[in-house]
Symmetry: C2
Subunit: 177 residues, 2 copies
């Protein structure tokens, strides 16, 4: 897909093959998600899919995404799987149509919650036990170093605890509605 520069003063020319049947509004919204995804280090294709589903009035099938975003089958399939696992997309049954249809999950709480969990939870779990082991490695160091490292380790422990405490609070702020 090619969501070119956008912005108000859009002086970009659609690339030759851009038969993309996307409306200007759609392009702009998708562009917004692409930018956001970039900030989170997430792949463009995933943002495109989510963006189009987000603006779309009705559920879309993979076919449609492939065609309208001018994207490969592989990317579409993988991207949808990723979004589904994340809980950012839901499947919808459309009577009389064999294809699976998708809609964007648009509740900030769910989105951010699952994303944060996916990104951090594993971490916290591991860090704690890892720090225990690290503490054991300070044997044959000078007293000064030993002391300093002990301090660093307890600092890391505090950071971890803070992280854990912050999460539920964050979720509450995002989800009250």
């Amino acid at each position: 897909m090619e969501v070119f520069a956008g912005s108000s003063g859009n002086n970009a020319v659609p690339p030759e093959s851009a038969h993309s049947s996307l409306q200007p509004v759609e392009i702009e919204i998708i562009h917004l998600f692409i930018q956001f995804a970039a900030a989170l280090g997430q792949p463009r294709s995933v943002a495109e899919i989510y963006g189009l589903l987000f603006v779309s009035d009705k559920p879309l099938a993979m076919d449609t995404l492939i065609e309208r975003l001018n994207m490969s089958k592989g990317s579409a399939s993988q991207g949808l799987k990723y979004l589904q696992d994340l809980g950012a997309v839901r499947t919808i049954y459309v009577a009389g149509d064999r294809r699976t249809h998708y809609v964007a999950v648009a509740e900030l709480r769910k989105l951010a919650g699952r994303y944060l969990r996916q990104q951090t939870l594993t971490h916290f779990e591991e860090t704690d036990s890892r720090l225990d082991r690290i503490a054991a490695l300070t044997q044959h160091l000078s007293e000064d170093q030993k002391k300093h490292i002990a301090e660093r380790i307890s600092l890391l422990r505090r950071w971890e605890r803070t992280g854990r405490r912050v999460m539920p609070f964050l979720l509450k702020m995002l989800g009250g509605e």
Copy 2:
């Protein structure tokens, strides 16, 4: 640098050239930061630098980092610049030594605060004005679509406001100390 698999059951063999003069504790701590950086999509070399400064008892010069992390001059220079701009590293004057020395800034509030700001602030600024423009693009669409998109846009507006509101609270939770 080569912080190999680590963990308790470390069955990895140091690669041939690893004359790295790193202590096991250092390796483990650095490894921790590398993992964390990976979750944030930050380059490994930056994590290595911050990690070594974090465990180190005393300020280190670029030279030392290059040697101990077995890293190129370019990476060290750029990495230090990045960390300094972020406020994650501070320079220290060491009497009788011409070289600049560095220490890790280890206050969660400062670190997270600046990082969040760097990652999000620009965004929020732009998003708002962008949404105004997008609203103007819905002219020649069906009533249904127009309505749906209007809803989506106001949803995005709410998300943005939430984001803005969350930041200061977050900072407070991270920084009380």
